[in-house]
Amino acid sequence: MSTTTTDTKRPAAAAPKTAAGKAADYLDQRTSVGVAVKEFARKIFPDHWSFMLGEFALYSFVVLLISGVFLALFFQPSMALVYYEGENPASMHGELMSIAFASTLDLSFEVRGGLLMRQIHHWAALVFMASIVTHMMRVFFTGAFRKPRELNWLVGMLLMILGLLAGFSGYSLPDDVLSGNGLRITDGVVKSIPIIGSYMSYFIFGGEFPGEHIIARLFTVHILLVPALILALIGLHLFLMVLHKHTQFPGGGRTDKNVVGYPLFPVYAAKMGGNFFLTFGVLALMGATMSINNVWNYGPYDPSPVGAGAQPDWYMLFLEGSLRLMPGQTEYVIAGYTLSLNVLIPAVIIPGLLFTFLFVYPFVEAKVTGDTREHHVLDRPRNVPVRTGLGVAFLTAFIILAVAGSNDLVATHFQMSLNAITWALRILFFVGPVIAFWITKRICLGLQRKDRELVLHGHESGRIVRFANGEYIEVHTPLDDQERWLRVNYDAYKPLEIAPATDARGVKRKGYKADKRWQRLSKFFFEDRVEPVTPSELAAAHSHGEHDSLGSVHEQHDALPAGASSTEQER
């Protein structure tokens, strides 16, 4: 076979000698994959630990796929009833339960490695969602969602929601008391939707709750529908990421026109491999040593009991908390129909508002900045005080709801009254985000002013000099180029300017009202701002008085070379 290859156009010297080389050559000749590999291997990735958060989500998903396939080999999604034959655990022996629950017990106590796999799967689900959320925080606070990446933000949002759906459907599969409680709440929430609610509930459960179909249906959703969608969207997400190339943190030599970092091969690939094994290792360690969802503690589902400490997994806690905080009196009967605002508001409207905020934020921000340029250099969170404030306010609301979802545990562990906690959180839910916003914005503005100060006057050196005329000054050492670059290269947007209400002939302009509204929002964003130091300001600062003869360097902050060991590439 090798003769045929050498006989074609290429010179004999290029013929690969090793087995791996031959295989690669074989592939390359048939697919020209080499071109793509070469292109891809030279792709430059900027470097920062927070760029790994998304990767952790990806690797946890791989763990979920592998452990999930194992579970699917043994789990039986049936709600038919059986008496549990197994000896272990003793508290379940001879109990009447669904086949789904019995097979979960079987998986845990009879199948070799089954409990380990269940625990790895569940821990991986929790870590998957945690890394998605932290990844989103990174993207939000650094403004990585700006043009051209708004679409990828939307893809990410869908992935997050699908993750919630995956977790929820999986949590419901074992058919223990907790998962049944969760489904019961879902049923209630669906039924609270006016007019179509009860029909939808019947549709979902195939009759009155709990019925006999829901586990089998959720099984299909959980192992087929949602993972397939997630996989497809992850593909799109990564494709867009490679297409746009990764964003980079600000710094000398980094512009919207280049990418500074390490080539995918070998540096970045090695790091990715390292992170992959790290994720596998951590999840395996957790699965092996920390118990999670011991369903035999809760027992088979039965609609009557609800244990103290019955909660959903953490990523659903905000919903639980929202329900717990809502006063129950808001249920009305209108002309014989019940309108359950006590469920509708906390379980549909509040999460709806939260998600809508995340969905539309990039577009709103684009509109109020009036900025249509592409951005590839990230923002330092302090340089966009209102965005950072809104993000922190959002997180505050989310955390308050999650704490409300755990109010009983807070009560027992901090010896407080459950009623007092609930009232405090009700108030905090409205006040907390506002306070958090205000404090964060102030801190950001303060940090920006500090930056200005530093750029203009340099670091305090602690060296006091006395002049001949008796005057004391402290010598300030000027910032080096990298430090200065970081602090002066940002956009301080001004509130939008809009066309006047009437045109030249005094005719009312269409769309003025909408413009006015956008302008007001824009004012909210950019009224308070700290402008970056301009080159002339810097020059002025350096030449006032004779003190700067003490060794300050005059330099314009123009293009700097990128860091020594990294590579630069055109976008």
Binding site: M286, S291, G299, W314, A411
Partner: protein, 259 residues
Amino acid sequence: MKALAARRHHRAAPVVLLLLALLVTGGVYAVLAPSPAQAETASTADIETGKKLFQANCATCHGPNAEGTAEAPSLVGVGAAAVDFQVSTGRMPMQMNGPQAMAKPPQMDEEQTAALAAYVASLGAGPAIPTDEQVDPALGDPAHGMALFRTNCSMCHNAVGAGGALSEGKWAPPLTDVSPRNIYQAMLTGPQSMPVFNDANITPEDKRDIIAFLDEQRDGSAGGISLGSLGPVSEGLWAWVVGLGLLIAGAVWIGAKSS
């Protein structure tokens, strides 16, 4: 097999601990703990001692003849079981005025407790202290106990008895290291916010099954560290702290290695 060995090991632990606690607080008498049956056949001497102890320690609240005052309920007819439960868990004599009388290290030794119980039992018929056999977890059926616990107790005490919150600062305590005798008595007498589960409600055999179930929980979890058996909230917290914590630490470390 390993699990079996661990189980035996664990089963002894609470008993040893209990004995130690009694040794410290009750002195030598603790070792020769009077069998609860003695309380029923209490001598008049016991009742006399009990009465004296009562007058010294309890009468300020419960009244000189245990008839009750504005502060505390009458103890006529609450039975020896109620006194034994309240005093041996340290709840009585009550100290702090809070939402709920706190359990604390018992102030009376075994003998004094028995005397107090005998005295109160002599005031009017009430539930007696259960016998050792009635509370022996080895004789109960944990599976049946679990079913009963799930429907009768888990809404307050959590699915495996890890404890839970009630309204207005009250709480249902964790049952992880309550003695079998006290578990039985708690059901029988319903302390404070807890309902009474009399013998018609949950038969003596059923009570023993519940004790067997709670005893089984002390063997630990098959899955590893139990994380307090508090359910998804503590699991979520650990997923963030251990899971994400290790991942980010690892990422920072790998990042530092490469550059």
